[in-house]
Symmetry: C2
């Protein structure tokens, strides 16, 4: 029997570090952050090309965002949009999708991905995903993609691989030694000085049986909740039962809940030009710039004696910067931010205040 | 016979240094630049209190601005709004008003004022105007208000008074020795080191016979044009004849055309807290500021580690500045400016481009 492949896109985040472009009413994944005419959510699905039939695409999001998902991804069946009644981090989100898929397709493989990241080399990305799906369909491995680090970034978690332990089934895949929390700068420098530390991308690949079993072993309260919901899945009662029981799930990431505890965890080191677009600086790094280092997204800015600025303001008729250096200028829906690039860590203090 | 007093407000300027708040579609004088709920034009008329009956108030402006004037000054009779078909600087503008008033009221006194300046001490302003009107009604003097300078400003013209020559009729008024063009900084410092140099305010007071005669002597081509228009003034033909003949007027300021040439020119040194609001810096100087030197006009800005900024953005819901110093942030009608205060001289390069 040929196993079928499913993709689960997690689209419930609120993107608080990208105010005012991203707001809780319309977070980053629904926004054309890159100024290319498509939202990050749309780009996320496009990235997979024709690897998945549309009925195997699942979006997990908040009820408040259901209309935006349907509008932006009209080809995804409405019943494939899973609505969380509240935010409980990634473990309950993934469990919901896993039980749902398993009921329909008990031997399915799943790719789980955030909805708001950037990938430059889509061809390489697809090769990695296909190779990963093949790997997990032949094993009970939990596989995560690890980004080869390019700088001592303190904003990401790291994955330590056991080199020399590549799987027989896939020479590119290594056993994971441990997951590391966001390090300070000295620790980050030590990590990247070695060649077996990777950024945790939040992209996971596994067979649905593997992840469901892992939940049963390591997060039995969550597993029990979804076992109890299973009978009503694909019925008219599903949403009301989810609304009732989902809030009882523990608020925990899948990294903490499962990956750090499970045995058969592997990492696929990849290098396809990735960014979580978690900060304005990371967007600036990924954006085309003029000779003075200025980047404009979705707008036409006149720069005079200005350098190394990023301007994101799609609704403005005209923008002029004179004598401005190293600044973020962003406007959306009547909200205006002018921020020194080095101070962007403070932006989240002002989000949806 | 009691002479009557008239006020002529010149409201045809385009305020190019205040982009994007001021545009040629809606220049500075029609904008609530100070964030007080009233335009500079409205404040200009209010400044005179009840000194003039409304039928003695005259607005000279461009045809394009007629509707805005009527909307902002509904009490001024529509027929008192004089429409220039093109911009010809202040001399033709003043001549038009002078001939018009003279036909109706041959012995009138006139106060001529720009429409986009700021005056702090309105009580002192009114005292000066009343004293000035009394002075010119008893003489054939051309009187200009000279602002006592507070700094070596290079953006204004200066008036050199002959001290010890105060008029017998008004001890506060001095004969003018010469008008000086905008000086460089060293010359400006030399001017203010003496005590007989004043900023040229552009506010003039004279009897209508005096100014009409001065035009006849010193600017006979302009005088001839308005003599030829005189028969149709206050008739239905007036506007079409103005539209035909006004463009033939020389493009010249009243300072060059008359004041620098006439004999009986006096200056009234005044100190009522004046600014021409000609630059963002001058507006910043006149605006209330918080402890960090930040000024917000028409908006509520959240400042974080930001200092000495001026923000003028009435249409925004929310504005956040983080780590920004010495900047102008201004938004109007979809146009956004972020400009280092020291570079504001470049703003006019971007006006209505």
């Amino acid at each position: 029997m040929k196993t079928s492949n499913h993709i689960v896109i997690m689209a419930g985040g609120i993107g608080s570090r990208f105010w005012p472009i991203s707001t809780s009413d319309c977070p980053k994944q629904f926004i054309d952050v890159l100024g290319c005419g498509k939202s990050l959510l749309q780009l996320t699905l496009e990235r997979f090309g024709n690897m998945f039939p549309k009925e195997n695409v699942w979006i997990v999001t908040s009820a408040a965002y259901a209309d935006m998902v349907m509008e932006q991804l009209p080809d995804v069946p409405k019943e494939n949009i899973l609505l969380e009644p509240c935010r409980r981090n990634t473990a309950p989100c993934i469990a919901y999708a896993a039980w749902k898929i398993k009921k329909k397709d008990p031997n399915a493989n799943m790719v789980v991905t955030p909805s708001d990241h950037f990938v430059q080399d889509v061809t390489e990305f697809r090769r990695v995903i296909e190779s990963s799906l093949k790997f997990v369909s032949d094993s009970d491995a939990i596989l995560t993609l690890g980004i080869k680090p390019t700088r001592p970034e303190t904003g990401y978690g790291y994955i330590e691989a056991v080199l020399g332990t590549s799987s027989l089934a896939n020479k590119e895949v290594y056993r994971v030694d441990s997951f590391k929390e966001k390090p300070d700068i000295d620790v980050a420098k030590a990590y990247i000085a070695r060649n077996n530390f990777y950024w945790n991308s939040g992209i996971f690949i596994w067979n649905v049986q593997t992840i469901v079993n892992a939940f049963r072993v390591y997060q039995s309260p969550i597993a029990n909740i979804f076992e109890s919901i299973l009978p009503v899945m694909y019925t008219e009662q599903e949403q009301s039962v989810i609304d009732e029981k989902f809030p009882d799930c523990r608020n925990i990431s899948v990294d903490y809940a499962i990956l750090e505890r499970a045995e058969e965890v592997f990492v696929f080191p990849v290098d396809f030009g990735w960014s979580d677009l978690g900060t304005w600086m990371s967007l600036y790094d990924r954006s085309p710039r003029d000779l003075n280092g200025n980047s404009m997204i979705g707008c036409n800015v006149e720069f005079s004696d200005s350098h190394n600025c990023i301007v994101h303001a799609k609704e403005n008729k005209r923008i002029v910067l004179i004598g401005i250096n190293d600044c973020i200028v962003a406007e959306h829906d009547g909200n205006l931010l002018v921020c020194k690039m080095s101070e962007e860590g403070r932006i989240k203090e002002f989000t949806d205040k």
